[in-house]
């Protein structure tokens, strides 16, 4: 009955395999090192954000270690995939804290995953920085261990609405947002800003991430007579919406936010994306030397143009490096203090400065428009 033997052998192998790798590989504390744990969706629906963050962080760590940017501290980084699922994210964070004994966590991208991780890092008393989650509830948990380098949604919503009111003189607008934490918080902020500016919100349909057909909603917006459509989601869906709107002969002004700001949006959207106005904290084509240097290095290393999440993750590593140099220790409390007092750093996405709740208000905000195959700067709104 060799088949039974194979199966029994297989089960044993399974058990040994699981036990073996659970023991983990905590490296001994030889030379002064700071261990950074990174949690993000490297598979599943938003894999391009997770992998973009992974590449940028790896690049930043290699650069800093090469040039001994943090004095005698060496950076060590561990990556865990959370598939964009909050339960798996909490397990990944736990593994990083217990097995790899990391001193700080970067992650996650989905606000729901970040919230789940914050419960773990707060209980363990370890600082956590998210460079991807923009959900407002994250910095309202009066949790002193959380910092956020993602650009603030509220500024973007207000800037976009103001731009529509002042330059386009529109009265009726519509929001078309993703049905996830990012999209829903954007929809709320846009609606509030529109009301404040006295614009009428004629329609506010939503879509599920991964949806492919948006024509029904676009038609509903067209029937509502909106003169501008504010999108809030990722570039794949945004490009599809732009194309399908053009196909339905709906050519009202399209607005977007930093979540979709990537050259891929232009590549996929084609000429339907021309003239799309969006806010972002990082402009791949900006004349700022720091940005150009980052983009060229990223392209050289990965043959791909960086997405905003990559730029923000890259800066996050530099913030940590600066903080550990100033604190000259990895004790959680001291590291947290050092991060909170970050000032005077000139990075790719602005001059980071954290308010007591943990939000980075040092971000500068660029209003850009798509012209040809790149973003053009329309206006810079400095962080208030």
């Amino acid at each position: 009955m060799n088949r039974k033997v194979i199966s029994l052998f297989f089960v044993m192998a399974l058990v040994i395999l699981s036990a073996l790798s659970l023991t983990g590989y905590g490296s001994a504390q030889t030379q002064k090192t700071i261990k950074i744990g990174v949690v993000g969706p490297e598979s599943g629906g938003s894999a391009q954000l997770g992998q973009g963050q992974h590449k940028a962080i790896q690049m930043a760590v290699d650069e800093i270690n090469a040039v001994k940017g943090t004095g005698e501290w060496k950076l060590e980084v561990f990556f865990e995939d959370d598939e964009g699922n909050p339960t798996k994210s909490a397990s990944a964070t736990n593994k990083l804290l217990q097995q790899s004994e990391v001193n700080i966590i970067i992650g996650a991208i989905h606000s729901s995953a970040t919230l789940a991780d914050m419960v773990i890092t707060q209980r363990a008393g370890i600082p956590q920085i998210t460079s991807g989650s923009t959900g407002s509830s994250i910095t309202e948990q009066n949790n002193k261990w959380i910092f956020r380098t993602a650009v603030n949604d509220e500024f973007q919503a207000n800037a976009l609405i103001k731009h529509a009111k002042e330059t386009l003189k529109v009265q009726k607008v519509a929001t078309f947002t993703a049905a996830d934490d990012y999209g829903q918080s954007g929809a709320k902020l846009l609606a509030a800003a529109a009301q404040k500016e006295g614009l009428q919100l004629s329609a506010n349909p939503t879509y599920n991430n991964g949806d492919k057909d948006f024509k029904p909603q676009i038609l509903a917006i067209k029937d509502s007579g909106a003169q501008a459509i504010f999108m809030w989601g990722l570039y794949t869906e945004a490009a599809l919406i732009a194309k399908q709107a053009r196909q339905l002969g709906v050519d009202v002004q399209l607005y977007g936010a930093s979540g979709m700001a990537a050259l891929k949006l232009i590549e996929l959207g084609g000429d339907a994306a021309q003239g799309l106005v969006l806010t972002q904290s990082f402009l791949p084509v900006s004349t700022d030397p720091k940005v150009m240097e980052f983009v060229n290095k990223y392209k050289a290393k990965y043959q791909d143009s960086p997405i905003p999440h990559a730029a923000q993750a890259y800066d996050t590593v530099y913030i940590i490096a600066d903080a550990v140099k100033r604190a000259n220790s990895v004790k959680p409390e001291e590291l947290r203090e050092a991060i909170a007092k970050t000032t005077g750093l000139k990075l790719v996405t602005g001059q980071p400065k954290f308010n007591p709740k943990g939000d980075d208000i040092g971000k500068n905000l660029l209003i850009t428009v798509i012209k040809g195959d790149k973003f053009e700067l329309v206006k810079t709104v400095t962080g208030s």
């Binding site: 598979s43 599943g44 629906g45 894999a47 391009q48 997770g50 992998q51 049905a179 349909p205 939503t206 879509y207 599920n208 991964g210 949806d211 492919k212 057909d213 024509k215 029904p216 909603q217 038609l219 509903a220 570039y235 794949t236 490009a239 599809l240 194309k243 399908q244 053009r246 196909q247 339905l248 002969g249 891929k264 590549e267 996929l268 084609g270 791909d304």
Partner: protein, 289 residues
Amino acid sequence: MQYFLNGLPLGAIYAIVALSYSLIYASSGVLNWSQGDMVMLGAYLGFTVVQLLHLGFTPALFISMAVVAAVGVAVQYFILRPLRERQSPPINVVIATLGVAIMARNIALAIWGPDAQNFPSPVSPAPIQIGVLSITRQDILIVVIGILLMLVLHLLLHRSREGKALRAVAQDRYAAVLMGIDTGRSDAVAFATSAALGAAAGILVAPIFFVTFNMGAGLGLKGFVAAVIGGLGNIPGAIAGGFFLGVLESVTGGQISSGYRDAITYALLILVLWLRPSGLFIRKNRQKV
């Protein structure tokens, strides 16, 4: 009316995927949950052929249909045949096809990366205006080629020897074996045809929906829903079910509420199944005592 028109191309795609579900279910009683991922593989292969080998749309269509058909046969031979020999319960077969779906998705992620890929459309994207209604050439292409594929399948099933063997097995597998039909071969043909159909759907949909590694998940589920509406195992039913779902989603999404679109679709379906327990387009099959 515009919503109806707009539901057609999506309906055609759902119909093709539903067709594959019903074809495999009818001929080998298997619920192939990896059908959606065959569509994804077809799209990616078409993309690779066009991007790397710089060939046109039609060669891409045929090459990717052939390769994905081979994948379908491999899945049938290495995974579903042993399951049949062991007479494993149907639930094991479902889990096996889900395993195939998980593997296909993550292999595609590893090979082609997480970013969405653009797929040049063989026809100009400019919309055609018919009075107030507008529809793009690509949509028309999808519906036309979709119906063409269904006709080809119909001919294959009713005219060719393989097709007749397939239908015989679908009617009564045991009797077919007695008549000397090699069910192994007919299963392979069923999987190859449905995989190829999936690939064609993938290439058709790629220009307007882009190609991502997890596009298979959504299509796989919607294809299953369409196949069940039409009455699982019933080929014309699957086509009708696909268009029905496409139009239903377009109308509910636009008119009622985009957030609850799928919820409404499912609620309606549960009601339909309560009234007609074996799908919209089949008489209630009587149980012999």
